[in-house]
């Protein structure tokens, strides 16, 4: 019995690879399993190679794991193009289509002997039962249902639902293809069993991806306006809101460029509405002037950056965590803009809600960092209970304050009640020009200093938000493991393995990246001698950012990789073991040579 399986499959564009993965994930989710599925495509607009990695677990899981337990190759050329994204090891069961005419001992995997290699006449079965090679993916689903022992009824129901429109004959053929795959699996049991154990709870989960969930969270948060410009891998946020937001009285505007997108959002916020935009790297660069405007005019807005490989067009279809420093410092002028990052697709819900609350409370743009993985991978999630969601509204001026209203009043908190057009008595001039309390433009140095101080001081309470950090492990542990965003899902799992091995390791995952909460890090580092910061970028951006604000112990190292080079939990575990050994050597008494 297995509690945790990683399945990888690749083929060419027309093979329905991704839809097969989604069917399997959906069936598993309906039975109560947890799962994460990443899809990956070649650079072609249509067709080309495509693949998925799906991890199915009986318990909550935050990443797509390491090497594959089951690898399915519909053809070897396409499979090999995914390299490290579909790693085969000595524990892998390799299944491939007999139509490739490669003998099981001649498969083109270099330097590894898989646990088992099975040649299956996938295409032949598809043609004989489903009537065409397009049924290959359905045959594979049947195989998986047989070998994993899950999802049979759910997948059949899914097939019926999906194909209902195409008529009874099509449904019948697909069902036959599925049953033929299933029968094949039952007749050919695997040497190493891949049967899944029962899930923790048999209740159905949600299946979400970060982009859709971000959009849905925005609606729950009360967002009435979205404007943006299409860019991979963020566009699904716009697509979702373009379908849904109208029902809730809101508006979606596909702008002529990213500047206009965030511009319209600045306008909607000025008009008193909660508003959001979303983009990726190049678009983020275009938005920065408007972020500055919203900062000085103290207008709430949420700006989501679904990060991809950069700079410039970079690798648009693959994730990277290389826009952290940009998010923190893209401003000109003395500015703080809060930056939040979600660690998973499921986490995009609370993070987006938090972003709106923070934006409204502090009257500031808030940047949400997601990435291609968080944005586009499919994931099971616990059903969301909206009644527990707390929403924050911007502080409006009272009747009394409106009698002699000063929009930018220097309050103790630094937060000044904000009016909006339509509110009688609240009339004021908003501007990107420095202004006095009443909003009148000024070039006076004293006023500028006071206003800067107010706009920065208002964020002080944010730095004490310990709830925006995940801290695990015993408080006096000498070893640290730090990570953020999608890669944190790997670090969290690595941490559990290390602790189970008896290592004294503390985990720290910031979901609030900026402003840097000095106190939280100083407390965390008190017991730390050595450790590791893990992130998906070349410059070690989080590590550098921390060194700017915090006394980072000298024993902290980095594990940083450019995008499109996946991490595995075991690789983090291995590196931490080495660090632990080094610490042991260092603390052993070494007689000094005088």
């Amino acid at each position: 019995m297995n509690t945790d399986l990683v399945i990888g499959m690749a083929g060419s564009g027309g093979d329905g690879i991704v839809s097969a993965g989604e069917s399997l994930l959906t069936a598993a989710a309906l039975e109560g399993y947890h799962g994460v599925m990443a899809k990956s495509f070649g650079p072609q607009i249509r067709g080309g190679e495509s693949s998925f990695r799906l991890r199915i677990c009986t318990q909550k899981v935050l990443n797509t794991g390491g090497t594959l337990d089951i690898a399915v190759a519909l053809n070897w050329d396409d499979f090999l193009k995914f390299g490290g994204e579909l790693p085969v090891s000595g524990n892998t069961t390799v299944i491939y289509d007999a139509n490739t005419n490669v003998a099981p001992d001649k498969i083109p995997l270099v330097g590894v002997t898989p646990a088992e290699v099975l040649m299956v006449p996938i295409e032949q079965i598809a043609r004989e039962t489903g009537g065409s090679d397009r049924a290959k993916n359905t045959v594979v689903l049947g195989l998986m249902a047989g070998w994993l022992g899950i999802g049979k009824e759910k997948m059949l129901a899914g097939i019926r639902k999906r194909l209902a429109k195409k008529g009874a004959e099509t449904v019948d053929k697909a069902e036959k293809a599925f049953h033929a795959g299933l029968a094949y699996a039952l007749e050919h049991p695997l040497k190493r069993t891949r049967t899944m154990a029962e899930p923790e709870k048999p209740t159905a989960k949600f299946v979400v991806d970060g982009n859709d969930l971000c959009a849905a969270a925005a609606i729950v948060a009360g967002c009435d306006f979205f404007s943006g410009y299409p860019i991979t891998p963020s566009s699904e946020i716009m697509h979702f809101l373009g379908r849904e937001i109208w029902k809730y009285g809101g508006t979606m505007l596909q702008a002529e460029d990213e500047i206009a997108g965030i511009g319209a959002v600045v306008g909607a916020s000025f008009a008193g509405k909660k508003a959001m935009t979303a983009t990726s790297g190049p678009g983020m660069s275009l938005k920065t002037e408007m972020l500055g405007l919203a900062t000085i005019a103290e207008l709430p807005l949420v700006c989501v950056n679904v990060m991809r490989g950069g700079p410039s067009t970079g690798i648009p279809t693959k994730g990277e965590q290389s826009d952290l420093l940009q998010a923190a410092f893209s401003a000109h002028g003395d500015v703080i803009r809060p930056v939040l990052a979600a660690i998973s697709a499921e986490d995009m819900f609370p993070i987006t809600i938090e972003a709106f609350n923070m934006a409204e409370h502090y009257q500031t743009p808030v940047i949400v960092l997601s990435d291609q993985e968080v944005g586009q991978r499919k994931e099971t999630a616990e059903p969301i209970d909206v009644s527990t969601v707390k929403l924050v509204e911007r502080q409006r001026p009272s009747e009394k304050e409106l009698e002699r209203y000063a929009r930018f009043r220097l309050t103790e908190s630094g937060i000044s009640p904000i009016s909006h057009p339509g509110m009688k008595g609240g009339n004021y001039l908003a501007s990107g020009i420095e202004h006095n309390e009443a909003g009148a433009p000024t070039a006076n140095g004293e006023i500028h200093a006071k206003m800067n101080e107010k706009r920065l001081r208002k964020f002080n309470p944010l730095k004490r938000r310990r709830d925006l950090f995940i801290v695990e492990g015993s408080p006096d542990a000498p070893l640290a493991l730090i990570s953020w965003g999608s890669v944190a899902g790997m670090a969290i799992e690595a941490h559990r393995i290390l602790v189970s091995e008896g290592l004294k390791v503390k985990l720290l995952v910031p979901r609030l990246l900026f402003p840097v909460s000095e106190e939280v890090y100083q407390d965390f580092f008190l017991s730390i001698k050595r450790g590791l910061v893990v992130e998906q970028n070349h410059l070690s951006q989080l590590y550098r950012l921390l060194r700017m604000y915090v006394d980072v112990p000298r024993g902290i190292e980095t594990l940083a990789k450019s995008g499109s080079n996946p991490f595995t939990p075991m690789e983090i575990v291995d590196r931490m073991r080495q660090i632990s050994l080094a610490l042991q050597r260092e603390t052993q008494h070494v007689p000094s040579e005088v």
Partner: protein, 297 residues
């Protein structure tokens, strides 16, 4: 302008729209006349100042919202239109005005003009066209005449000017007019007409820069050369005739309404409202949005 905007609640006078801020403009700057004309137009319309949002970019001319009692927003260079659109879409009941210089509108912000026209957002956009960059002290602007010598074109401009009137007519603007503070009554009248037009209205104002502008662009010269389209018996319902007259931009000074679509098309803000109304019964509360993730419905 939305239907709500037509109801005069109280009587307003031009004074009600004038703020206490003292303009930073050079004495004699054409923009003084423009703001006066706006006060008058707004008083005739009669919307209370707090129901008006007045958005500008950056430049001498873009200071204008601060000199009114409306909700003003002096934004960043070239971006008045996108921000104004967001405001109108967020609250279609507001009367939305946009303003700025020729550089703001047709150089850095030129890309936005086509799109606000395509969407036909119900707002009025006033460009104070002085054929020069005022705020940054006298560089070439997109409407500067060929050969013009400025601090940034010491040896004379080698570019031909943008024709703002043809530009917006070409993109399908449904209300296009030109005025000058040399004729205050005429200017106030076309601004009022623009505001009353149910859709995007574009008004080019020949507002001279006394500091960096040319002699023949000053109010005195304008008075001598201006010709009202009305006196020429131009039919503002005729788009081709409007384009023909607009060709003379830079040579002749025609004032009045070049084009007013006799059967104005739908506005984006109006259509958005209709769509919201039509779809609102599909959901009961915001929590319904999560139904898309439910596998068992």
């Amino acid at each position: 302008m939305s239907t709500l905007a037509v109801r005069p609640i109280e009587e307003y006078t031009a004074k009600d729209y004038k703020s206490e801020l003292k303009p930073i403009w050079c004495p004699g700057c054409g923009d003084f006349g423009v703001v006066q004309a706006i006060y008058r137009a707004l008083a005739n319309i009669g919307r209370p100042p707090h129901e008006i949002a007045f958005i500008s970019g950056i430049g001498c001319s873009s200071r204008i919202p601060g000199y009114t009692t409306a909700y003003g927003f002096n934004t960043v260079h070239g971006r008045a239109l996108p921000i104004a659109q967001g405001i109108k879409l967020a609250n279609p009941d507001l009367l939305v005005l946009g303003a700025g210089g020729d550089g703001d509108g047709f150089s850095i912000g030129g890309g936005h003009v086509a799109h606000v026209i395509r969407r036909n957002i119900d707002m009025t956009y006033i460009v104070m066209d002085n054929q020069i960059y005022g705020l940054t002290k006298g560089q070439l602007s997109p409407t500067s005449r060929p050969g013009l010598q400025t601090v940034s074109s010491a040896h004379g401009s080698m570019e031909s000017p943008v024709n703002p009137l043809l530009y917006v007519l070409g993109y399908g603007a449904q209300f296009v007019a030109q005025g000058t503070p040399a004729d205050m009554n005429g200017l106030a009248k076309i601004i009022e007409e623009g505001i009353r037009f149910p859709g995007f209205a574009f008004i080019n104002v020949q507002s001279p820069c006394v500091t960096y502008g040319q002699e023949d662009q000053q109010l005195k010269a304008q008075k001598a050369m201006m010709q009202t389209l009305e006196s020429m018996k131009h039919d503002p319902g005729n788009r081709l005739a409007a384009m023909d007259l607009a060709q003379q931009y830079g040579e002749k000074l025609y004032t009045g309404v070049f084009y007013r679509n006799p059967t104005p098309g739908p506005t984006f803000d109006g259509l958005a409202r209709k769509r919201q109304q039509a779809m609102k019964d599909q959901v009961k509360s915001r929590a319904d949005v999560l139904n898309v993730f439910k596998l068992v419905k």
